[in-house]
Amino acid sequence: MIVAEQKPIKEILEMVKDYNKILVLGCKGCVTVCNVGGSKEAAILASTLKIAARKNGKKIEVEEHTLERQCDPEYIDEIKDMIDDYDAVVSIACGVGPQFLSERYPSARVFPGVDTKFMGGAVEHGIWSERCAGCGTCVVHHFGGLCPIARCSKSLLNGPCGGSSNGKCEISKDVDCIWDIIVRRMTELGRLEELLEFVPPKSWITARDGGPRRLIREELVL
């Protein structure tokens, strides 16, 4: 899923300080799963904004609504009759949401309520970890099912750098050296010799480096 984190409340308050009718818009997709942008979080944020305004002696109207997904025009359309009632929208979907909203409703003032972090999953309750860099050409099967592009700090493809120590990455003791894990796993699997083969320079043309990406599936195009 796409993992996000709520922006500091101070930052959100600063964004919306000049607006009196605010819609907090949640999303039932990834951000609901990572407990940051679903209907529950939309309700909490709406109350927080109201309380903060009241504290400042200001009365504002804040309502919340949660869409099935904010990355789908069909669901974005759902709010077409209500969006004009608000002078600001705080989207707590991933970075896709505010953009789909801005594109569909050009006159709306849309603010991001969360910071989109990465593609990953929950490794423990309350702890999420990155897994995919979206390079556009998956190679994890060469590395014991683990991705060195997303998980090595230097995206090395030919083995661990000299900074790997006690299974940790040189950048922080809190970061696992994925190459340490890959080497151990491939050794256990009896497939170490696969790591001895030279991996030539990767083409990043399918990654973000190749420019903003688009995917067309002809059979699905109406």
């Binding site: 230097k154 090395l156 030919n158 083995g159 000299g162 900074g163 950048i171 050794t187 170490l192």
Partner: protein
């Protein structure tokens, strides 16, 4: 066609079978050319080539190619270092052409310390290619005469290709395989990380020799003399992939006030003496960090002078 790959002094010294001796010089954090020249002057005549570091520890300094050119003008042979952190394959290949055009003949290929260590942690890194692929790039340009895209190069750069090896980083068992991989990718010579744990290095070299790696590539053992107990402790605790045995720290502590640096040099000289005899070791890479003025003394005491003229 020359019998040499690059014709660098370092290559000639190694090929002639001499025990090579390389030094290191970090470019200034500024455009202080005089200071750089002063540091380089200490190394002149003491070593066969001088590594010029490339924004080491991710701290901005004068670019390694520019400082290499200064050394060249001063009559020293640079070993131009390049890291993959700050350049994509376009910049890498154009810099390789540029340094060759200006007379640089050795190049050390590295991944580079992550920028989070350095003085611009907010920077975006590149890592378009890794150090292994950088070795392959230089070799392709030299031996195939083509760029990475297969296009012909009009006058290919002929560089003596170096790579690093850290026998002390983990996973330990994989390190010798990684060395083998670097050699297969095109490394002509290897300079190791600073060695302090001699037992572990002996074990590493034994494995390398068993695999015949020393016959395919020149392996230079890395030596950095300890200047103080504080430095030893710092290296042990703060520098990733560095293995400083407690016994060495104890030895330095035991040297007594004002004698620690001398003890550090003594240990370095003992190491060099052992490396001279160690099977598979073709030379020593002396990284006297901000201690260039002590290099003549260390070289003398280690019996490395005079350097061979090839």
């Amino acid at each position: 066609m020359s019998e040499y790959k690059s014709g660098s002094n370092l290559e000639k010294v190694l090929k002639a079978g001499h025990f090579a001796f390389t030094g290191e010089c970090g470019p200034p954090q500024g455009a202080n050319v005089e200071h750089l020249k002063e540091k380089a002057a200490h190394l002149k005549g003491c070593v066969d080539a001088v590594n010029v570091t490339d924004n080491q520890t991710a701290v901005v300094r004068m670019s390694s190619w520019a400082a290499s050119l200064v050394l060249l003008q001063e009559g020293l042979e640079p070993n131009f270092q390049m890291v993959c952190r700050d350049r994509n394959r376009l910049a890498i290949q154009s810099d390789i052409l540029g340094v060759y055009a200006h007379g640089i003949r050795n190049m050390l290929c590295l991944s580079g310390d992550h920028q989070r260590f350095g003085n611009h942690p907010e920077a975006k890194n590149v890592f378009d290619i890794d150090s292994m692929q950088l070795i392959y790039t230089v070799k392709t340009m030299r031996d195939e005469g083509t760029f990475l895209n297969g296009q012909d190069i009009d006058v290919p750069p002929k560089l003596f290709i170096g790579a690093a090896s850290n026998p002390f980083a983990e996973p330990f068992e994989f390190r010798v395989y990684r060395l083998a991989k670097k050699i297969a990718a095109g490394a002509d010579f290897i300079q190791t990380q600073c060695i302090y744990n001699m037992d572990r290095f002996r074990e590493f070299m034994k494995r390398a020799v068993d695999m015949g790696l020393h016959e395919k590539c020149y392996i230079l053992a890395g030596v950095t003399p300890m200047k103080s107990v504080g430095m030893a402790r710092y290296m042990a605790k703060q520098v990733p992939g560095m293995d400083v045995p407690a016994s060495l720290i104890k030895r330095l502590q035991g040297a007594g006030k004002g004698k620690v640096a001398g003890e550090g040099i003594k240990f370095a000289i003992e190491q060099i003496e052992e490396f001279k005899e160690m099977e598979g070791v073709a030379g020593v890479h002396l990284m006297a960090i901000e201690w260039e003025h002590r290099v003549p003394e260390i070289s003398e005491l280690a019996g490395m002078l005079p350097r061979p003229k090839v």
